[in-house]
């Protein structure tokens, strides 16, 4: 297994973790909030709301802007 494969596998593990938690949150009665609940909670304060929206804007800047 090359370093490239290991790096990709790491991203896939993180992605699988996100999907697993979301499924557990929405399809079972496990005490896990959904990602939407988490974002809503984080965005309840002004700093949290601005922080999340800036993170969103940063994604656009990072992938497209100079």
């Amino acid at each position: 297994m090359t370093s490239h494969d290991v790096t990709i596998a790491g991203y896939l593990v993180v992605l699988a973790g996100i999907v697993l938690l979301q499924v557990l949150a929405t399809r079972t009665r496990a005490p896990i909030p959904s990602l939407g609940d988490l974002l809503t909670r984080a965005m309840r304060s002004r700093t949290g709301r601005v922080g999340v929206l800036v993170a969103w804007a940063w994604i656009g800047l990072h992938f497209f802007a100079r």
Partner: protein, 244 residues
């Protein structure tokens, strides 16, 4: 858009929570703004917000990765947020979230329901499609695409700064263990990305052995249709977040 009347957020705003807003509230509680030293401390209270430090870290890493424009913008927002929290501390308000409620920009009732809502949604969808098509046709990292992304990002962040666009139910506390599980996974993802970035030959040179997410998405973003699709997804995510 109009100011919202008292809603669930105000009711919630007076209950201390565990987020940054509550943190600012704590900062305000210990600062006596009547004294000069207290005013200085109050002005610095904004730097107690974890979000401010996260944005400063993003600004630093973005700037040294060869994206100075991103870095400067992140720095401006971080300083603006800190200043805003400090200003609220000086005013000795009830708490950071109280300002949120006062600044709420919930959509007027006539826009929230019925036909007008449908027209608004249709216009936003059409505008989003046009935006994605036009901006996606520009070359990556060109000034036109930079201007379009900065412009939209600024509008969305300013909307969020003024308050939520709709009243939301107060909601209860999130389960601690489940929340920690989310934090662990998301932090792990960030650290994995950071590890790949630091193992590149340099911060501005891609590595096949240790690709970052940016490197992995390069093939998709190399084509105009690919950029348009990714921009649509980015717009949809932004809309979802604005509605939170």
């Amino acid at each position: 858009m109009s100011r919202a009347g008292p809603g669930p957020e105000e009711r919630h705003s007076h209950s201390p929570g565990t987020d940054g807003g509550a943190g600012a509230g704590c900062a305000e509680a210990v600062v006596d703004a009547a004294r000069p030293a207290g005013r200085v401390l109050a002005a610095l209270a904004g730097f107690r917000e974890p979000v401010v430090w996260i944005l400063l870290a993003i600004a630093f890493f973005t700037a040294i990765s060869g994206k100075p424009v991103d870095g400067v913008l992140m720095l401006l927002v971080a300083v603006g947020l800190a200043w805003d929290a400090g200003r609220r501390a000086l005013r000795h308000s009830d708490g950071a979230d109280a300002d949120d409620a006062a600044g709420s920009v919930a959509w007027p009732a006539r826009l929230r329901s019925g036909r007008r809502r449908g027209i608004l949604v249709g216009a936003l969808l059409a505008g989003g499609a046009v935006y994605a098509g036009v901006v996606g046709s520009f070359s990556r990292y060109s000034w036109p695409v930079t201007g379009c992304v900065i412009g939209l990002g600024t509008v969305v962040v300013l909307i969020g700064w003024h308050g939520p666009v709709r009243a939301r139910p107060p909601g209860g506390r999130l389960p601690v263990a489940g929340t920690l599980a989310w934090i662990a996974v998301l932090v792990a993802g960030c650290l994995w990305e950071l590890g790949s970035l630091l193992q590149q030959p340099s911060l501005t040179t891609d590595s096949y052995s240790h690709p970052t997410i940016s490197t992995l998405t390069d093939p998709v973003l190399a084509t105009s249709p690919g950029r348009a699709v990714v921009l649509l997804a980015w717009l949809a995510l932004g809309w979802y977040l604005v509605e939170r």
